[in-house]
Every structure is written in structure tokens, then in C-alpha cells.
């Protein structure tokens, strides 16, 4: 197990370096002088010159990159062009809110998606199976941000109108109460829920065809024990992996959801920064989100190897 973990960590290092280099290099894609891009278009020539000197923009690219990497590892990701605050401060303020949303969505998607997948697998080709898998397919095809807008229309316009309520049933934007969580979490969870339902169904169907399941039934075991004690327990391994991998995807999907619901998380910080051409913030948020994604996938890989010894021996 230790060898496997070390090997996976070793393989992750070039990926992490590559990601950080790509993010570092991205500022040079901006048409024109990167120093102006970092300092802002309204910056004075003196400030621009200082940025050029601080960032070492006249240095060879590898020297610039190593300097960038060293500063980033120390938590210095520059300053926001718009607010002047350190990028790391802006991110650390917003990141917990995104994580709250992502965790809530992950739990919601697992609590609904997995049982639906199990029920569908135990009733293959039934109306329930056909109906839920069709809805799941629609869920995968639906843009997350559009679902968010539809939920807003439903809870803030239609339901109050139908039931004569004085205001929205759920607040469409903002943060503060548990009610603020509902719509963003559901919108963010929907796609994940659909994927988990489909994958759970596929895994369960595969397991339910195994000989030991037939043996359990032949021995007179009650059906619910066959499904939950034998089938689900074995199907759970790939399902847990999928759920774990979804967490990273949810953090990336939060960019769109936070924009719809004005949720003050790291995704919204990124979108606002794009509007203001606040390139240090863009670099910082992309770096943090991507690193989180890479580390989550790494943890899921290691967890899967821990749960399934056949993986680490292959």
C-alpha cells in the first residue's frame, strides 16, 4: 500500500507542476504587455515598471516560473487589480463557502442518486427504471445554470403566484440561512445525481448477474438482503469512487451555479475577476480550484486502492 501511495504521489508531481506552469504562462496569452495586464489598464507607468521588475518579466521564462512557484508556495499569489487585497486573502475568504455548497450538493446527490440507481437495477426495464433513467439522461444533458434559473422561476415566481404567497418561497440569491442553500445545492447536485444514478444502476446490474447472487437466492435468502448485503456491498466500491470524483467536478461546476445565485464563493470571484480583467485573481482561483481537483482525485485513487487490494497489486 505504501508503494502504491508513493507511486501515485510521484506521478501527481509532474501534473501539479504542469498545471502550475500552465496557469503561470496563461497571463502571457493576454494580447499586449503582461505587466499592464497584471497592474491594470489604469496603472501608472511607474507601477507598471515596478510590476515588471517584481515579476521578473525581463527574465528568462524558467526563472520567472520558478520565482512564481516559490511565491505561490509561500501563499503569495499577488494582489487583486480591483481591490488591491492579496489574492490569497480573497480566496481564503470565499473558498469555505464554495466547499459548503459542494459538500451539500455531494451529499444530496449521493442520498438521492444512489438509492434511485439501486431501485432501478432491481427493477430493470420497468416503468420506474425507464422513467428514472430518462430523467437521469435529461439531468445529464441539462445545463446546470439553466436548471438554476428554472428553480428560481419555480420557487420565486410560480409557487408564490399559485399559492398566493407574499414573497419567494426560497430566496433566489444571497447567503445566510439554510433556505439559501436549497436552490444552489439542488442545481449543482442535479448533474451529479443523474450520473450517480446511472452508474449505480450499471454497477448493480453487473453485480446482480454474478454467481454468488444466484447462490444466495437459491439458498432462500430474502431479496432485500441479497440486494443490500451482497450486491450493493460489492457494487459500492466503484460507486464510492464515482462519488468521490464528483466532488472535484462539483467544485468546478460551482463557477456557473454561484454566478446564477450570486453565491459569494470562489467561482463567483473568478467570474467577477474575468469581468474586471483582474488577472492575478483569475490565475489564483484557477490554480486553487485545479489543485483541489487534482488532490481530490488523488485521494479517491488512494482510497479506492485501499478498499480494493487488486488495484494496488496490478
Amino acid at each position: 500500500m505504501t508503494t502504491y501511495v508513493l507511486r501515485r504521489l510521484f506521478l501527481a508531481i509532474p501534473v501539479l507542476i504542469g498545471v502550475s506552469f500552465l496557469v503561470f504562462w496563461s497571463i502571457r496569452w493576454v494580447p499586449g504587455d503582461p505587466a499592464i495586464a497584471i497592474a491594470g489598464e489604469l496603472a501608472t507607468p511607474e507601477l507598471i515598471a515596478k510590476v515588471r521588475e517584481d515579476m521578473g518579466l525581463d527574465q528568462p521564462i524558467l526563472t520567472q516560473y520558478s520565482s512564481y512557484l516559490w511565491r505561490t508556495l509561500q501563499g503569495d499569489m499577488g494582489r487583486s487589480v480591483r481591490s488591491g487585497l492579496p489574492v490569497s486573502d480573497e480566496i481564503t475568504t470565499r473558498l469555505p463557502r464554495t466547499l459548503q455548497l459542494a459538500f451539500t450538493s455531494l451529499i444530496l446527490s449521493a442520498l438521492i442518486g444512489i438509492p434511485i440507481g439501486v431501485f432501478s437495477a432491481t427493477r430493470p426495464n420497468s416503468w420506474f427504471d425507464g422513467g428514472t433513467m430518462t430523467i437521469a439522461l435529461l439531468g445529464v444533458s441539462m445545463p446546470i445554470f439553466w436548471l438554476g434559473l428554472m428553480l428560481m422561476i419555480l420557487f420565486a415566481v410560480l409557487i408564490p403566484k399559485w399559492f398566493g404567497l407574499p414573497g419567494p418561497l426560497l430566496p433566489p440569491t444571497g447567503i445566510g440561512t439554510w433556505q439559501h442553500f436549497v436552490m444552489p445545492s439542488v442545481a449543482l447536485a442535479a448533474n451529479s445525481m443523474a450520473i450517480q444514478a446511472r452508474m449505480t444502476r450499471a454497477c448493480m446490474l453487473e453485480v446482480l448477474q454474478q454467481d454468488y447472487i444466484r447462490t444466495a437466492r437459491a439458498k432462500g435468502q430474502v431479496e432485500w438482503k441479497v440486494v443490500y448485503n451482497h450486491a450493493l456491498r460489492n457494487a459500492l466500491l466503484p460507486i464510492v469512487t464515482i462519488v468521490g470524483l464528483q466532488f472535484g467536478t462539483l467544485i468546478g461546476g460551482a463557477v456557473l451555479t454561484e454566478t446564477v445565485f450570486a453565491w459569494p464563493g470562489i467561482g463567483r470571484l473568478l467570474v467577477d475577476a474575468i469581468g474586471y480583467r483582474d488577472y492575478p485573481i483569475i490565475q489564483g482561483t484557477v490554480m486553487v480550484i485545479t489543485l483541489g481537483f487534482v488532490l481530490t482525485n488523488l485521494i479517491v485513487d488512494i482510497l479506492y486502492a485501499y478498499l480494493n487490494p487488486r488495484i494496488r497489486y496490478n
Binding site: 468546478g252 463557477v255 488577472y279 480550484i289 485545479t290
Partner: protein
């Protein structure tokens, strides 16, 4: 007919292609003509899906948007196939250092969660339809690289390849004559699915204001603009989203059906 869902998918895709190609002729109104007296009107007999925030006919804009989405899907897939497939073939066939470098590059690109890489690219290159197409195309490069590499690795060991080599064929001939035709089927399947993903990504970029210019009837743009009027004129956001969803669904169903038909090993 054995796969009714694939037939439904094909029907949706053909309808979408037909709409995009014939938009200029079948649109009941000029998609670009503003009429402030008709701003935010609900669906009616003259404007079947209603009017947007400056009175333009929504149905006509959706039809023209289909052409843009189709273009984005095809160009993005074209970029992905032309670059990714070549990377995959080189990586899978020659192996060694080429495989190591290419697969590390692929890993780095896949390390970015879904659309974040495209957002970053367009944010730095500047929002435009062309940059959005390039960014979405770049997203699909690692997908094709991995797929084609996997197929190439499996075909490389086949007996007919060994026989061809024994007959004196060089690597270029073997690649062109034997490997490429055999990896074509998975590329076709993936391309169908990738068009769906590209259309979704384009809509997302448009929604964030990183796609086509504001007046272009791209569906993501329409959602972004309509968002301001979501409570007073919800129809402006309902129909572009429905269109996106059904087109993505159509390509996904078609892709699944093609996979079952062309290459059962991919199941």
C-alpha cells in the same frame, strides 16, 4: 430500429441540423430586428416563442442559434480530432519518450475540472466566438488523445500488423493503411458525444459572457441576457435552455447508439 433511443437521438440531431442550415429561409421573422414595442412579449400566434428583451423574435433567434451551436460543435470536434487523434496515434504506436511526454501533457490538461480550462483560455485570450471555439476544441484534445492511444495500443499487437511489417511495410504505411481505419469507429462515436459536450460548454461560456458577442443569437448569450428579466419574462430563458438540453440529449443518445452499433467492445 433495434435501438429506439438512438433513432430518437438521430431525429433530434437531424432536426437541429435542418434548423441550423435552413434558418435563413424558415425563420418567420428577421432574427436581428429589434422592436421595442414588442419587448419581452410572451408567446403568441405571431411570435411563437415570444420576444426577447428588445423585441426580437425568439423562435427566429433560436433557429439561427442552432447554426452557431452546430458550427461550434463541428469546429471544436475538428480541433480535438485533428490534434488529439494524431497525439494518440503517435503516443500509442511509437511509445517510449513520445508516449511519456504526450500522456503527461494529456494528464495536465485533464487535471483542470471540466470547463475551467476553457474559461481560463478565453479570459486571457479575450472573449470572442473564435476563441471560445478554440478553447472548447482544446478541451477535447486529451479525450481523443487517450481514446486513440488506447485503440492504437490494442491494434498495434494484432497479427495483421505483424504480417504487414514482415512484408516490409514501413511505420507510415502501417499507420495509414491499418491503424487509422481501425481507430475510426471509436473516433466517430466519441465525436458524436463530444459535439454534445461542446455545445454545452459553448452555452456555459456564452452564459458567462465569454463566447460570442452580445448580439449574436448564441443560446448561452440569450440565457445571459434573459437572466436579467427572469422574473418578468421567464420565457426568454426557458426556450434557449430547452433547446440546448434537447440538442445535447439528441447527440448523447445518438452517440450511445453508434457505440453499441459500431464497436461493442466500447460498451
Amino acid at each position: 430500429m433495434r435501438n429506439p433511443m438512438a433513432i430518437i437521438g438521430l431525429g433530434i440531431v437531424l432536426l437541429f441540423i435542418f434548423a441550423g442550415l435552413t434558418a435563413d429561409w424558415i425563420s418567420p421573422h428577421d432574427y436581428d430586428k429589434a422592436d421595442f414595442t414588442m419587448a419581452r412579449q410572451v408567446p403568441s400566434s405571431t411570435h411563437w416563442l415570444g420576444n426577447d428583451e428588445i423585441g426580437r423574435d425568439l423562435f427566429s433567434r433560436l433557429l439561427h442559434g442552432a447554426r452557431i451551436s452546430l458550427g461550434i460543435g463541428l469546429i471544436s470536434v475538428g480541433i480535438g480530432v485533428s490534434v488529439g487523434a494524431v497525439m494518440g496515434i503517435v503516443s500509442g504506436y511509437f511509445g517510449g519518450a513520445a508516449d511519456l511526454i504526450i500522456m503527461r501533457l494529456v494528464d495536465i490538461m485533464l487535471a483542470f475540472p471540466s470547463i475551467l480550462l476553457a474559461i481560463m483560455m478565453v479570459a486571457f485570450l479575450g472573449p470572442s466566438l473564435q476563441n471560445a471555439m478554440i478553447a472548447i476544441g482544446v478541451l477535447s484534445i486529451p479525450v481523443y488523445a487517450r481514446l486513440v492511444r488506447s485503440s492504437t495500443l490494442s491494434y498495434k499487437e494484432e497479427v495483421f500488423i505483424e504480417a504487414s511489417r514482415a512484408l516490409g511495410s514501413n511505420d507510415f504505411f502501417i499507420l495509414l493503411r491499418h491503424i487509422v481505419p481501425n481507430v475510426f469507429a471509436p473516433i466517430i462515436v466519441q465525436s458524436t458525444l463530444q459535439v454534445a459536450a461542446s455545445i454545452q460548454a459553448a452555452a456555459a461560456l456564452g452564459f458567462l459572457g465569454l463566447g460570442a458577442p452580445p448580439d449574436v443569437p448564441e443560446w448561452g448569450n440569450m440565457l445571459q441576457k434573459g437572466r436579467t428579466y427572469i422574473f418578468s419574462a421567464p420565457h426568454i430563458v426557458v426556450f434557449p435552455g430547452l433547446a440546448t438540453m434537447f440538442v445535447v440529449l439528441g447527440f448523447s443518445l445518438l452517440g450511445d447508439g453508434l457505440r453499441d452499433a459500431l464497436d461493442p467492445r466500447l460498451k
